[in-house]
Every structure is written in structure tokens, then in C-alpha cells.
């Protein structure tokens, strides 16, 4: 199930809040697990067993690791085998098909694959499970004795299928003891509404323009269309993902959990390093803590740092999807970061901030072209169109721009902290007008328009075109 869905807003959310708040404290975690399992299996129950088995396996692995703390070698062996087990499951569902395709292409073989649908959220919950194993092994946090508590860590529905990938060490204390205050509940509602608006009003509509442009045959794609498509995609992806994260973090607050932000105005970055501190923060932190630093991090010889960076970014790329485009996208960032760190650092320090900001946005935009293209060939063609190969302006581009320019403007504004700053300045001001009360109008508009948007998405007229 997704959060931006009428069933979620009008049934799942009120029912889960009701259940959670009427049961006694001892039963609250059990309620959360139940909700998580229903949320996970909504419409796709076939992988429930897989999820439950993964949870049980990690639960026992975690206990085994903590029992072997006196024997580091044994603990390490258990850790490695458990990690390999999870990576094999992830690999089977997510990468097996891709692997076989490539083998077939290279060796001219004709192996077939079962073409299984991807279990929802497998990349996210696998990384949560791995985080648990690593943190227990590194003794950052104790293993959970109660399987129900452990199940809460994995299946807590706000973060289950699309993150944020909360590290175990950051969440474990809240599993047993957490409080909801009036203020945190209100904050949760605010984040949820903001996220809902980002997703339904901005991401979905900008996504529609992008999809139209992406569906054009490449020979009729003009330069302006290619630029517009890439810009729409950049904003769409940001509002889609950060909207989802906002909703997830907001919902978590309603149940007493407090997670760190997952996006921090990434399009305000003035370097690629900065961008990755602001974009999908929880994933970056995961790779930093569990891959980059164990490999030696930045406290090793330069060539090793470069190697570590490239390993991390190749993995980050492939984590996003089983396609060479994602590998190229990841390596692209790996190389950019190496350049930024070791080659261009002194030059970049002298470049004015505005130019660095523009350069960063341009590089990120190019990255997204690889990210959204279904094949490297499409990506190359698209970039070719963007950089003046072929005609630039045509009617299609004008039409597409005409139908989305206002949303683009709103989107650009909303990807800067300007709105939030205006809000907090108003709160600080001594205005006679009740600022907080007036702001409710704005949020009510977001909510009502989002309901309209979610309803409109389900519009399906039955048409028997009798021409």
C-alpha cells in the first residue's frame, strides 16, 4: 500500500491510530507488527512468508551473534553467513534476472529466469535487517530478546517499504520506550500533510508531463523537450521521494517514533559532496557506516580512498535497480566525488557559490537522465538532444511547457527553504493576525486538493467506443 492512497488515508490510518491508542502499553508493539504485516501484504500477500522468514532468521542470527561476543571469530562467522543469506535473497529477487540476461548476452546462451515480481520494499527491509546484524555485531546496540520487538524494528509500516532506512542503533531505544506529546503529534500531522501534497500535487502532475515526453519517439524529441523532461523528472523524483519520506517520518511521529530527516533541500547543494549529504540521507549513512568506513574510509592512502569511493558508489548505483543505467549513474557519482575531492578541490574553492550551485544542478540533472532511462542508449540519445544535437524548440516542447510551467515554478520554489523560512519568520513576528490559524487554510487546501488528486487517480470511465 502507498500512503497517497484513499484506502490508506481514510481507512488504514484512522484504524491503526485507533487500535494503537486504545490498547494497553504492553500490546502496542504487537499492534504495530500486525499493522505492518497487513500494510506489507496489502494487494501482494504472496511474499508475507518471505518477510516472516527473513525476520525470524535475523532475530536468531542477532541472538547468536550477541551470545558469541566472547568469541569474535565465531561472531564474525555468524554475521558473515547471515549477511550472505540476506544478500542472496535480495540478489535472487532483484538481480538474478539481470545477471542471467548479461550472461546470455556475453556467452550467447539462452538461460531462462522465472521472472518473479519484486517483493515490495525488499531493498529497504533487507538493509534494515543488515543494519541490525551489523549494529549487534559492533555492539552499538544490544540484540533484542523479544521477537515482537524485533519485528517492530523491521515491519514498522511507515518505513517498511520505502524507508527511511533507519539504522538499528538509532531506533532500538524507541522500540521499548517512546512517548507521544501533543507537539510531536502535531509535527507528525504537519509532515504528513506536506509530504502528501508533495507527492499528489507536485510529483504526480510533473511526472505526467515527464511521461508524455519520455514516451515520444526519440527522433521527434527536441532539445527543449529533452531539457524540460529532465527538469520535470528531477523535480518529480525529489517530490515523490522526499514527499514519501516526509509522510513516513510524520506517520512515525504519530506512533511516538522520531527519525532523522531523509532529505535536506538537495537542490540547494553547491557541490556533489553536499548533494549527497542532503539527498536520501539515510541510504548515504548506511553505505558510509557499513561499507565505506569498514573498508578504511578516508583514513587510508589516497588510492585506497578512491577505491573505497568507487566501490560504495557502484553499490549505491546497483542498489537503485538492476540495470546498467544505474551502475553508470552510481559510477558517475563515484567519479564526480573523486574529482571533487582530489582534483578540482582548489579550483572549486575559488569559484563563486552561484556558479557552483548551477554546476551542481547541471551535473545532478545529467545524472538523472541515466537514472530515468531504460537503457544506456536512450540516456545517450537524450543527453545528445539536450546538448544541441538536432532541432531545439518545437511545438511539442511549447505545449508541454505551457501545461506545466506554473507547477514548475511552484516546484522550484518548494525545493528551496524559502517557504519554510517565510513560515518561521511569520511565527516569530509580532503580527496581530493569528498566523498559526491562517496557516491552517494553506494546509487545508493541500489536504483537500490531495484528496481530489487521489480520487482523480482512480477515475476510470467505462468506454465502449462505438465509432
Amino acid at each position: 500500500m502507498a500512503f497517497s492512497n484513499l484506502t490508506f488515508v481514510f481507512a488504514f490510518l484512522p484504524i491503526s491510530l485507533l487500535l494503537y491508542y486504545i490498547v494497553p502499553k504492553k500490546a502496542k508493539n504487537a499492534v504495530l507488527v500486525l499493522l505492518g504485516l497487513v500494510f506489507f501484504s496489502w494487494g501482494r500477500p504472496e511474499y508475507l512468508i518471505l518477510l516472516l522468514c527473513s525476520i525470524l532468521f535475523s532475530y536468531f542470527s542477532g541472538l547468536a551473534i550477541s551470545n558469541q561476543q566472547e568469541h569474535p571469530v565465531r561472531a564474525k562467522l555468524i554475521l558473515i553467513s547471515a549477511v550472505v543469506f540476506h544478500l542472496l535473497i535480495l540478489g535472487f529477487y532483484k538481480y538474478y534476472d539481470f545477471l542471467v540476461q548479461n550472461i546470455n548476452q556475453i556467452f550467447g546462451t539462452a538461460f531462462t529466469t522465472p521472472k518473479l515480481p519484486l517483493p515490495i520494499g525488499i531493498s529497504f527491509f533487507t538493509f534494515s535487517l543488515l543494519s541490525y546484524l551489523f549494529d549487534v555485531y559492533r555492539q552499538k546496540a544490544p540484540a533484542l530478546k523479544n521477537p515482537l520487538d524485533f519485528a517492530v524494528f523491521v515491519t514498522f509500516f511507515p518505513k517498511l517499504v520505502s524507508g527511511p532506512i533507519v539504522k538499528y542503533e538509532d531506533m532500538y531505544a524507541q522500540i521499548e520506550e517512546r512517548t507521544v506529546t501533543k507537539q510531536s503529534f502535531g509535527d507528525g500531522c504537519r509532515l504528513f500533510l506536506i509530504g502528501l501534497g508533495k507527492k499528489v500535487l507536485l510529483a504526480n502532475t510533473l511526472g505526467a508531463t515527464f511521461n508524455t515526453l519520455y514516451a515520444l519517439p526519440t527522433d521527434s524529441l527536441s532539445g527543449a523537450s529533452a531539457w524540460l523532461g529532465a527538469i520535470c523528472y528531477s523535480l518529480m523524483l525529489y517530490f515523490d521521494f522526499s514527499g514519501y519520506s516526509d509522510m513516513a517520518i510524520g506517520l512515525s511521529k504519530l506512533f511516538g517514533f522520531s527519525f532523522a530527516q531523509n532529505f535536506n533541500y538537495p537542490y540547494m547543494s553547491n557541490s556533489i559532496t553536499d548533494f549527497w549529504r542532503r539527498w536520501h540521507i539515510s541510504l548515504g549513512a548506511w553505505f558510509r557506516d557499513y561499507v565505506y568506513i569498514p573498508l578504511g574510509g578516508s583514513r587510508v592512502k589516497t588510492w585506497k580512498i578512491i577505491r573505497n569511493l568507487l566501490i560504495v558508489w557502484a553499490l549505491t548505483g546497483i542498489w537503485h535497480g538492476a540495470n546498467w543505467t544505474f551502475v553508470v549513474w552510481g559510477m558517475y557519482y563515484g567519479l564526480l566525488l573523486v574529482m571533487e575531492k582530489f582534483v578540482l578541490k582548489k579550483v572549486l574553492d575559488k569559484v563563486p557559490n552561484v556558479l557552483r550551485h548551477i554546476l551542481t544542478l547541471l551535473l545532478v540533472l545529467i545524472g538523472w537522465v541515466f537514472f530515468f532511462s531504460d537503457s544506456l542508449q536512450i540516456a545517450i540519445t537524450w543527453l545528445g538532444r539536450m546538448f544541441f544535437v538536432g532541432p531545439f524548440l518545437d511545438a511539442t516542447a511549447k505545449y508541454a511547457f505551457g501545461s506545466c510551467w506554473l507547477l514548475l515554478l511552484v516546484g522550484i520554489f518548494a525545493s528551496t527553504p524559502l517557504g519554510a523560512n517565510i513560515g518561521s519568520n511569520l511565527y516569530r513576528s509580532k503580527s496581530k493576525v493569528p498566523v498559526a490559524v491562517c496557516s491552517i487554510l494553506f494546509f487545508a487546501a493541500i489536504l483537500l486538493l490531495s484528496i481530489a488528486g487521489m480520487t482523480n487517480d482512480t477515475y476510470s470511465s467505462f468506454l465502449y467506443f462505438q465509432f
Binding site: 501484504s41 501533543k182 509535527d187 511549447k398 501545461s403 507547477l407 470511465s461 462505438q466 465509432f467
Partner: protein
């Protein structure tokens, strides 16, 4: 800050700390109000939907609405039980139609110019976004028609492919809207027929482009459009002394057609007119599929249903025979799509018999029909959008022996 800085030693709160306090107070108040807003709206929806009876069908969407799903283990394991709940909740959402219209209005406000494959055009016109001709089937139909005409050189054979609204009124399309050049498509189609006379109706319709030639909310043409097209082609049809007087009746002024349903835009209601030729010729209509016989091509009952265009013949049928008292010794075979439904009213005075077949539902062979019925004239009448996508015309025109050999 506009205030002057207070000395640090004073015990009174500084402007900065006051601002901070106001910030915290406002944010807290806002949080409480937002919680009330979110929970309140959800609660109101819940109460209203529990308190109101479920609707069975939607007029706007022209379909049955989902009802409370019945539980079953198989539905639970294959996931359909869950998706049925999704459909139920969204279909029965209080004010569903209003929410959808509201969103469409909002989208229009933000600059959107199309909805579900329909252009939202000037003057409340809706036009379907055209797709490219299906080249393979177009060629197949051209070959079949040419071969058919070759076998029946003795018959007067005409083909009219009626342009669609955007071809006649491109100025009503949204600015810069990507659109095929249908006129060019039709011209290149015309060039591919040798034995059949291709009737060009573009000029006749363009001459009256300011009039209501097409419905605002439906993909069909109006009786007025059909009238102008008919008037321009009488010579080619071999009709001398065409009727010049018609009784025109407006039979509906509340028609919301397929494009309205498809786009979700309900900002206009069309008028449906019928043109009854003033002649003494009488006729009898026989429907082959239902074996029913009537003395009118107009079906009044259909005006109570959603699609008022079905007032002509009650919609599409595999074969309809119209026997008349015209006594002209001419028999017309009309091979058509639904654009011909409102066109047929202009043809009744000139033929002893009109046999109307719709190849999408008619599975017999046209050659044998010609032999049995003593056909003298053949007219193919389609609209361009259907014609360029049609895959059933060639089958009807290919003789039985030839199709068996394939």
C-alpha cells in the same frame, strides 16, 4: 530586527527570546490545529460514508461502482480481496464526482490542456487526441477495397472517410497541441484508390466550420455535419433532385457524450437534432440481429439512456435493412461505422432498399450479399479515426474462397 537591543543585564526577556517564544507557541498551536484538521476531515468522511447508502453505478463514468467486497480465502491469498477494498473505498468516496471535477478544474487552472487522452479545447469542445494510422491495416483495407471494386465494376462505388473535429477545427485545439495532420493522411489515402471514387468531404465541412458540425462532448458528428457532407456528395452518389426540405427536431439538449466521460469534463451539454426529409417515401427498418422491425430509424427510448447518439438505430448493429417505397430501382449497400448512423437519415428517399452492414459485427461476406440482394450502389462511410485503425473491413470484403486459401 527593528527594535533596539536590550542591555544583556536586564532581567526582562530579550526580543530574540520573545520571538523564539512566539515561534514555539505558534508552531504548537499550528500542530494542534493540523491534527484536528487531519483527523476531523477523515472522521467527517467516515461518518458521511457510513451514513449514506452505497451507489450502484456512476453516470459520469458510465460503469458499475464497486460494492463491499465479499471475503474469500482465495481473494485473500491472491490479493484481490485487498484491491477490491481499494476500489470500494475510492468508488464510494463521498462526493466522488465533485472531487474529480474539482481536480480537473484545478489542473486546468495550472495549465493542463488534456485529460485521459482528450484535448480540452476552446469553447468547451473536447477532442480525442488522435493516434497515428495503423499502416498495416490501412494497406490491407486499401487492397481489399481495390480488389472488391475490381470484381464489381458494374456497381457505383463510393468511399467517404469523414474527417474528425480537429481536422476541421484545428483552431479550437490547445495552443501548440501535438496533432496529426489528418488532411494529409486523408489525401494520401485518397491517392491509393483506383476503382473506387473517393469522396472528399473536408472542403464541404470546412466551408461551415463555425457551425456545430461535431458534438462538443462526443466523438461523433452532428446531423448538421452529416447534412453538409451529404449535400456535397449527391452528384457523386448519383442522386438527382435531392430533397431540399427537412423537418429538424431537437430531440435532446442534455447529451454528455463519450469524450465527456473519458476526460471527466462535464462543462457542456450537447443538443441532438434529427433531420427528417420532407418526402412521401415511407420505409421499414429490419434489424438482422434482433429480427425486430420498426417504421422509424429513430429510437426514442435511447434518449433516456446515457448515450443520446444511439437515438439513431439504437446504436450499432451487424446488419440493418431499410426497405422503402422510393421506387428508384436502386439498392444501396452501406458499409460503415457509427458516423453513418446519423448519415443514413439523408439516404432513405433515394433507394428501394438500403442494406447497412458494420464489418466490426458482421461476419458474412459482402460478395454473396451483392449477388443475393441485387445491389446497384455501394457506399463505404467511415470517420477517419476509426478508418485508420480498422482491422475488420478487409475480412468482409475478401471472398470466401480466397479467405479459405489463406
Amino acid at each position: 530586527m527593528e527594535q533596539t537591543k536590550q542591555p544583556e543585564s536586564t532581567p526582562r526577556p530579550t526580543p530574540k527570546s520573545r520571538a523564539k517564544q512566539r515561534y514555539r507557541r505558534n508552531r504548537c498551536l499550528q500542530g494542534n490545529l493540523l491534527a484536528a484538521l487531519l483527523l476531523g476531515v477523515v472522521l467527517v468522511f467516515g461518518i458521511v460514508s457510513v451514513g449514506s447508502a452505497d451507489k450502484a453505478e456512476s453516470q459520469n463514468e458510465n460503469r458499475k461502482l464497486a460494492q463491499i467486497p465479499a471475503f474469500s480465502w482465495s481473494g485473500l491469498t491472491d490479493g484481490s480481496y485487498f484491491s477490491d477494498w481499494d476500489s470500494y473505498i475510492s468508488d464510494q468516496l463521498p462526493g466522488r464526482d465533485s472531487w474529480i471535477s474539482f481536480k480537473l478544474q484545478f489542473d486546468k487552472f495550472t495549465g493542463k490542456k488534456e485529460s485521459n487522452g482528450v484535448y480540452l479545447c476552446a469553447d468547451d469542445y473536447l477532442m480525442e487526441i488522435p493516434s497515428a494510422p495503423d499502416a498495416e491495416n490501412v494497406q490491407r483495407n486499401v487492397d481489399a477495397i481495390n480488389a472488391f471494386a475490381d470484381r464489381h465494376k458494374d456497381l457505383r462505388m463510393n468511399l467517404a472517410v469523414i474527417p474528425n473535429a480537429y481536422c476541421i477545427n484545428p483552431e479550437r485545439l490547445p495552443k501548440n497541441a501535438p496533432c496529426r495532420n489528418q488532411q494529409a493522411d486523408l489525401e494520401s489515402l485518397a491517392a491509393s484508390f483506383q476503382q473506387v471514387n473517393f469522396i472528399n468531404t473536408i472542403d464541404a465541412l470546412k466551408a461551415h466550420k463555425e457551425e456545430e458540425l461535431y458534438y462538443h462532448t462526443d466523438h461523433h458528428w452532428t446531423s448538421l455535419g452529416a447534412y453538409y457532407a451529404f449535400s456535397s456528395m449527391t452528384t457523386q452518389l448519383g442522386i438527382t433532385n435531392p430533397v431540399s426540405d427537412y423537418d429538424v427536431y431537437a430531440v435532446s439538449d442534455s447529451f454528455e457524450g463519450t469524450l465527456s466521460s473519458k476526460s471527466g469534463s462535464h462543462t457542456y451539454q450537447d443538443t441532438v437534432e434529427i433531420y427528417v426529409p420532407k418526402t412521401s417515401v415511407q420505409y421499414k427498418v429490419t434489424y438482422a440481429d434482433t429480427k425486430e422491425t420498426t417504421c422509424s430509424i429513430y429510437e426514442r427510448d435511447c434518449l433516456n439512456a446515457k448515450d443520446h447518439y444511439t437515438v439513431f438505430f439504437g446504436g450499432n448493429h451487424s446488419r440493418v435493412d431499410i426497405a422503402t417505397t422510393a421506387d428508384t430501382e436502386r439498392v444501396l449497400l452501406l458499409v460503415k461505422d457509427s458516423y453513418a448512423n446519423c448519415f443514413a437519415q439523408f439516404l432513405t428517399p433515394y433507394y428501394d432498399k438500403i442494406i447497412i452492414i458494420d464489418p466490426r459485427y458482421y461476419y458474412d461476406n459482402a460478395d454473396s450479399l451483392l449477388a443475393h440482394e441485387g445491389v446497384t450502389d455501394v457506399l463505404f462511410l467511415y470517420n477517419a479515426s476509426t478508418y485508420f485503425a480498422d482491422s475488420s473491413l478487409a475480412d468482409v470484403l475478401t471472398p470466401a474462397e480466397a479467405s479459405q486459401q489463406e
